[in-house]
Symmetry: C2
Subunit: 376 residues, 2 copies
């Protein structure tokens, strides 16, 4: 019965020098991936008795997770823990890194389900999970609706990721007091990201098109989930006091929103050679960003009509240029640039005046500039 | 930061006499619903800052969960705990009941997502969640695809239920040792039910149509999830030894499969006046049950063709009767009845020879007969 189902976090990470681990570096990415790979291996004894169909699905999830980028969320969580005085040479460090890595499984659920919701066909250069299983259905020559099958499998694979996120936390070996500090923040984080996604699809369906509504989506879908709560989780694990938690959360919210605002600008004005996405792609997709909301707020009826009729349609390059000019002329671009600057400053100020460790302050400073001044 | 986000389980249940609580009774159902209602109330402080759209979604989930029937899974978990010597007058009893109630949130996720996958329009006499939100989209006169919107919201609401299941467990106040025994079983249970659903949709898409494949779906989608693992969870909380856990799991697997086999027979032969479903509904839906698999195994090419071409089509009453006759003549009905009898006997024998408490043995005996001899 009560078998732990996984080697302890400390065993998995014996070969990793946690003291030298810096978020964003290849070594950090490798350490997170080692935790995840080991966790997936530990699931096999539950998955295999159900047969090859389920084994295939679990492997599809593993490939999806292992393919995943920079490990931004575990990076912020680890930084929050270090910044609040967490000791990477202490025995609990491996458990902390394991709990941080679980954020990648929540992210896997969010992405797999989001891709169904947005009918996205590719992700990170590969077919999305629902497209992958739609293809498998066709290849097998099965009966019935292949797209419905693909979506059904992807719903279940996303669910599996979400359940396994909690299983990884539970298997991390956190001590009781740490777990008790971690769990309520973890609860808020998971609920907030689901709420943020809901606000997003609601906004697209035609709800509130105000600047405030767009900012709220940024806050919960991106900022809280990507920076604020990961930092908060790490700080909670280290037993940070309320003042430090508040400073980290201010930084996370402000820099997180600024990060998304930069993303919004790049989605309209970014250089395709740098972003890897077609120029003006967000305009064609009809994304309801703060940039668009601000432009609509400032627009006379004629400009507003131009924006509303153009957004979400198959715009040619000339039409993209025309819309860009409208956004600039209305002052919406300047407004968003001003917000990015202000939010980055308030975020950095909160950290500067906090009791975070000097090393973490330095790291958070660099992470803020990387997130808000990037070109891709 | 580390606010518990809910009153402790003991506070919530002060007015409930846990010693007298018997699964299946209105008092038990009311106690589980009290835990769930109080938990939903505790989520409001996380949900409300995101605004009315998310509040509406959380309320839709709450209504769905509170509407939910007999609380079968918490009932088996509570029985497992009592049967392994859990003391309902002890202070931890309220925490145990809270953890048992969390099974209803896993079930909410399974049903909400299953209804999307099966394109079901009603559940418990109400519109399914995705249909409800499709209707809301239409009523609001929003732009875009209302059905896609409904499915998207229902995906997120199911995710919320799954995340909240773990949050309720984490907030239950289990002591460290109990939690450590509970978590690995909880992990298996969540993974197995998702795997069972996956096998089910795969079977429908045209995978393996053997008796073994159909039995495996029954085992993981129904038996493990409804009886075996709930009993196991309860027993683990009480610190049961391996022999008792094995007996409870044998009972849960055998009686759980027998329960599903009875369901399969009722889906084809049940009296509509008693089951509340149109006669022969499972034949029209084309469900790939053990009954069908056994019939196909026994059939000559002519009978097999009759079954395969009829299943999943809009059969009239005469065609339903013809198919029923084929299933009977092939001996498939007798075979399934024999399986039900044998599985019920092996399940009951395992309990009879176990160290479970006499009260639990009595209860499990009655529950087995209720599950396998019912007419609706």
């Amino acid at each position: 019965m009560g078998t732990p189902l996984s080697r302890s976090a400390a065993d998995v990470l014996t070969s990793v020098d946690l003291v030298a681990l810096t978020p964003g570096t290849p070594a950090f990415v490798a350490a997170v991936e080692q935790v995840l790979t080991e966790f997936f291996a530990s699931r096999r004894e539950i998955v295999e008795p159900l047969g090859p169909v389920f084994v295939d699905a679990a492997e599809a999830l593993e490939q999806f997770v292992v393919r995943g980028g920079k490990r931004t969320r575990p990076g912020f969580a680890w930084t929050g823990w270090l910044g609040a005085g967490g000791d990477p040479s202490a025995p609990e460090a491996a458990s902390v890194l394991t709990a941080c890595a679980a954020l990648e499984l929540v992210q896997a659920c969010a992405l797999v389900h989001d891709d169904i919701i947005d009918s996205s066909r590719t992700r990170r250069g590969f077919p999305t999970v629902h497209i992958d299983f739609t293809d498998r259905h066709r290849t097998a020559g099965w009966s019935g609706d292949g797209e419905a099958y693909g979506s059904a499998v992807a719903i279940l694979i996303g669910d599996l990721a979400l359940a396994w996120a909690d299983d990884l936390v539970n298997a991390a070996g956190l001590d009781t007091a740490s777990f008790a500090r971690f769990a309520p923040v973890w609860a808020r984080m998971r609920t907030e990201v689901l709420g943020g996604q809901l606000l997003d699809i609601n906004g697209e369906a035609g709800g509130d098109e105000s600047v405030e509504a767009a900012l709220r989506i940024n806050r919960y879908k991106t900022a809280a989930y990507t920076i604020e709560r990961p930092l908060h989780l790490g700080a909670a694990l280290a037993g940070a006091d309320d003042a430090l938690v508040a400073a980290l959360r201010t930084y996370g919210t402000d820099v997180g929103i600024a990060f998304q605002l930069r993303d919004d600008l790049l989605g309209v004005f970014g250089d395709p050679a740098v972003t890897g996405k077609p120029s003006g792609d967000d305009l064609r997709e009809g994304k309801r960003t703060v940039l668009i909301a601000e432009a609509l707020r400032r627009a006379d009826p004629e400009s507003a009509a131009l924006i509303r009729t153009g957004l979400g349609t198959d715009l040619d390059d000339e039409a993209v240029d025309r819309l860009r000019a409208v956004l600039i002329d209305l002052g919406a671009v300047d407004d968003v640039e001003r917000r990015i600057t202000e939010l980055t400053e308030t975020g950095l100020a909160a950290i500067a005046h906090s009791a975070a460790t000097p090393a973490a302050k330095h790291l958070l400073h660099d992470m803020a500039l990387a997130a808000t001044r990037r070109t891709a």
